[in-house]
């Protein structure tokens, strides 16, 4: 058990942006929500999964909606409390703690704001260990946990609880209600007990985000080795490519931002060409046509000078980036995990091979 204050929030936001693997959007508005809440209500207690009782009722909290709307409306003052009361009323039990659903963007920050404003502890875990584009793409699905009952509310006071027959329906209904409510809502889904959380969540992810953020902030303070070596060491990252963005092709299918990033090699990758495809998050990285990493492993782009993470909406021609592969949470590498978020689900015609095996002897080992 430890406390999270404003310094920690800054580091968590930075680290979570890296774990967002290109997705999750800019965590800025989320960071303001968390800082505002902690200033007003005090620091937040962070519990490790092991410190949580097996029978505790845990309420994950997240926001859904269009990033542009989120950046105008932020969050109101009553949504946390309303969601909390809806969940308690539905289950007829006290909520013990809250937790994040994903790393990256506003949803790595919102649970900190909720915990501060509700006086609840937050658990050091989430359902992805990164960011993913769809609601059923959580480790809890592997454990057979249903997304519903899903509690959803807007800032005006409208609220609804869904009980659906499949997670597909949850996604569809939640999306249309979100649009009717003005484009952004606060919600809780995958409400579960402590035992299930311990078995199927991604453990210690908040702490990992914080450590990564802190390390990025101090990346230049190295005594031996280069900042790049330092970055790869503390992130346990595998260098896939270093290059300059020579083109970004973007399309949208109404639901997701899809695209392809072309990279021209620089430094020790000079003369080679890299490519990263994305659907909100980065999905597949290849060099000279050979695939070096795919989802669910994390493919992260960072600035070659500052090592700050670059999200897919912040991509810019000419930017120099380091493409880094991070191993995903082990649960994602099980057959069920690969079925849910492996390359074939995203339409990439290849088997999942762990990033550390792909790069061995590959062209990227430069």
């Amino acid at each position: 058990m430890r406390k999270i204050g404003i310094r920690e929030i800054e580091d968590i936001a930075l680290g979570a942006a890296l774990l967002g693997a290109g997705g999750g959007g800019d965590p800025y508005i989320g960071k303001l929500m968390a800082i505002g809440a902690v200033r007003e209500c005090g620091e937040v207690t962070l519990l490790s999964p092991e410190e949580t009782p097996d029978d505790a009722l845990i309420m994950p909290i997240a926001m859904m909606g269009a990033p542009t709307v989120l950046c105008e409306k932020g969050i109101g003052g009553t949504e946390y409390r309303r969601i909390f009361e809806m969940v308690e009323r539905y289950f007829g039990r006290k909520v013990y703690a809250t937790m994040p659903m994903e790393a990256g963007g506003v949803n790595s920050m919102l649970p900190i704001a909720a915990a501060a404003r509700l006086g609840l502890p937050m658990i050091d875990c989430d359902g992805m260990g990164r960011a993913f584009p769809e609601l059923q793409m959580v480790t809890f699905t592997i454990g057979g946990v249903s997304a519903t009952p899903m509690a959803l509310t807007d800032e005006k006071g409208n609220s609804v609880i869904f009980e659906t027959i499949t997670n597909q329906w949850t996604e569809e209904l939640a999306r249309s209600v979100t649009m009717s409510c003005g484009g952004s809502v606060t919600c809780s889904l995958y409400v579960m007990d402590g035992k299930t959380m311990k078995a199927y969540s991604v453990h210690d992810i908040v702490t990992r985000s914080e450590q990564l953020g802190k390390a990025i902030r101090n990346v230049k303070n190295v005594t031996d080795g280069t900042p790049e070596e330092n970055f790869l060491a503390f992130s346990e990252g595998i260098k896939l490519f270093k290059g300059k963005i020579s083109d970004v092709l973007r399309t949208t299918n109404g639901k997701f931002n899809l695209g392809k990033i072309q990279l021209e090699g620089i430094g020790d990758c000079k003369g080679h060409r890299g490519e990263v495809t994305f659907q909100n998050e980065n999905l597949c990285a290849s060099v000279d046509g050979a695939i070096l990493a795919t989802a669910p492993d994390l493919i992260c782009l960072v600035d070659t000078e500052t090592f700050t993470p670059i999200t897919t909406d912040g991509l810019k021609y000419g930017k120099r980036v380091l493409v880094v592969g991070l191993r995903c949470y082990p649960l994602w590498r099980t057959p069920k995990g690969i079925e849910l978020v492996g390359p074939r689900y995203f339409g990439i015609d290849t088997d999942y091979i762990p990033v550390e095996d792909r790069v061995k002897g590959g062209a990227a080992n430069v």
């Binding site: 800025y28 508005i29 960071k31 303001l32 929500m33 800082i35 505002g36 809440a37 200033r39 007003e40 269009a66 542009t68 709307v69 950046c71 105008e72 409306k73 932020g74 969050i75 109101g76 003052g77 009553t78 949504e79 704001a113 404003r117 800032e155 005006k156 006071g157 003005g182 484009g183 300059k244 020579s246 021209e264 912040g314 810019k316 021609y317 000419g318 120099r320």
Partner: protein
């Protein structure tokens, strides 16, 4: 008829005089003074001594200044303000100014979030709480003279902000300064609100530099000139407009330098390298306008969403200090002797080895006394120059979006330290008057017209509606003084408003052309 262009920089105040055909007649550099007006008067006096023209023939005077940026960064001369945000029940979970540095928070006397605002499609989010607005302004009456008003989705619909401004005048009187967010920023409430607060806090600074500029000119006998100020997008604003929207001057420095360089070299697509005493800025001109940066811009620790030119800066300039390490390797910068170069550089009789000394030693530049650097070993000078070359070539590469070579234009007083052949550059040009490109950029700035209207595309199809809007914007630019043949459309935006019957959109067009 003549145009007078002035750029007040941190080190120098540059002034140029340009004739009707936009030919540069005279240029001067004068040290910037603590009270900037002595510097402006000194520069104008020197310029007129040089040019010997009839002062009454100077009909336009343009000022580019970083006064607002400096005031924000140094937290000086900022006025206390009140902030009213319209948007409850939304947004209250994100308090105003929550991530502002502690040392600038003092500018906000009081803030409140009241009911009101809109949804993304223009539907009302909540009715405007007029009573709360009235109570807020009543409490601040007599305490502050400047008010910032922001509102959720005011970029889609501005009615609540306008109504609140009206109430503010009723309560606080006609003299109160009001800044409303939809006139200042774009999408993103917090960034737009931040810019509006800064704008409100700058009203005294704006009054001082606009009136001071007019006074300085009058003192030097320039009394027949229309006065304009440069803004971020390379267009001009009148003095009255600048007093209301001073924040729109914050990035005019790089914009002016890029546009000035483009004008001097007659190139519309190129990389511009502006070398000063301490830093070198790389910018890109595309189709005549600076390429814009895609990232949020922070001014003095406050995040805003202004469109700023995409500029890459490195610590290299004419005053950069050159050192040789024990292993024989050579470093250049990032520290510099800055404005003290005329005392500290070897060629000026000083004791510090600078990038300028290296250029003189290698015969690339003729400043100061070359005999004072004759003793330097050629090996050292060549090594230092290859470090400089590497830094600049790297910068060119950062700014390029394709592997094709581009034309490069060198400007700024420090550009004498750069070699004339650079990798990645198809050609390297150092135009005449390269030292005062900023002031020239200011003098040739364009004048714009903004048209905005709600249009139902079912009644008037989109193509025709946009055509009409473009024609109107061009007429407005001409009415503001633009030469018709030179007016171009520089911005077109249409936002669908689903809450209106039919297929209604808010259409915004900006046109700009050269001033008569």
């Amino acid at each position: 008829m003549y145009k007078l262009g002035i750029d007040v920089g941190g080190t120098n105040t540059d002034a140029v005089l340009i004739d009707e055909r936009l030919q540069v007649i005279a240029e001067v550099k004068h040290p910037t003074t603590g009270n900037i007006f002595d510097g402006i008067m000194g520069a104008v006096r020197a310029l007129l001594d040089q040019a010997q023209v009839d002062r009454s023939q100077i009909r336009q005077a343009m000022l580019g200044t970083t006064q607002c940026t400096n005031a924000i960064v140094e937290r000086k001369n900022l006025a206390k303000i009140g902030l009213l945000r319209i948007g409850a029940p939304a947004t209250v979970g994100v308090p105003p100014m929550v991530d502002w540095p502690a040392d600038i928070q003092f500018i906000c006397q009081k803030s409140a979030i009241i009911g009101g605002g809109f949804e993304y499609d223009g539907k009302q989010l909540a009715p405007l709480d007029e009573e709360a607005a009235r109570a807020f302004f009543t409490e601040l009456k007599g305490k502050v003279q400047s008010i910032a008003i922001s509102c959720v989705f005011s970029t889609v619909r501005a009615d609540h902000e306008q109504r609140a401004a009206q109430i503010c005048r009723e309560v606080m009187g006609e003299d109160v300064h009001i800044s409303i967010s939809n006139e200042i920023g774009s999408m993103g409430l917090i960034e737009r609100e931040n810019a509006t607060i800064l704008n409100a806090a700058l009203y005294k600074v704006a009054e001082r530099f606009t009136e001071g500029f007019a006074y300085s000119l009058a003192q030097e006998g320039v009394t027949q000139a229309e006065i304009y100020l440069s803004q971020n997008d390379g267009t001009l604003m009148t003095m009255e407009y600048a007093k209301r929207y001073p924040i729109l001057t914050v990035a005019c420095g790089p914009t002016n330098s890029i546009r000035g360089a483009s004008y001097l070299s007659r190139r519309n697509n190129a990389i511009i390298i502006d070398v000063g005493g301490t830093t070198t800025d790389f910018g890109v001109i595309q189709a005549g306008f600076p390429r814009e940066s895609g990232v949020a811009v922070t001014i003095g620790g406050v995040r805003t969403n202004f469109r700023m030119p995409d500029v890459y800066s490195i610590g290299l300039g004419g005053g950069s200090i050159v050192r040789q390490r024990e292993d024989g390797s050579v470093t250049v910068g990032p520290d510099s002797v800055g404005y003290e170069i005329t005392q500290k550089a070897l060629v000026f009789g000083g004791d510090t080895l600078t990038a300028t000394d290296i250029a003189v030693r290698l015969g690339m530049a003729d400043v100061g006394d070359a005999s004072k650097v004759a003793h330097l070993s050629e090996e050292l000078a060549v090594k230092a120059m290859s470090v400089i070359r590497e830094m600049v070539e790297e910068g060119i590469d950062v700014m390029k979006v394709s592997s094709d070579d581009l034309d490069v234009i060198l400007v700024g007083g420090g550009s004498i330290i750069l070699p004339e052949k650079l990798a990645g550059a198809r050609s390297v040009t150092k135009p005449a008057f390269f030292g005062t490109a900023n002031a020239i950029g200011s003098a040739i700035s364009k004048v714009s017209g903004n048209y905005e209207a709600l249009v139902n595309y079912d009644e008037l199809p989109r193509e025709q509606a946009l055509e009409r809007a473009k024609r109107e914007a061009i007429e407005m630019a001409v009415a503001s003084g633009a030469i018709r043949e030179t007016v171009e459309i520089i911005e077109v935006e249409d936002i669908p408003l689903a809450y209106y019957p039919g297929n209604t959109c808010r259409v915004k067009v900006k046109a700009a052309g050269e001033l008569r």
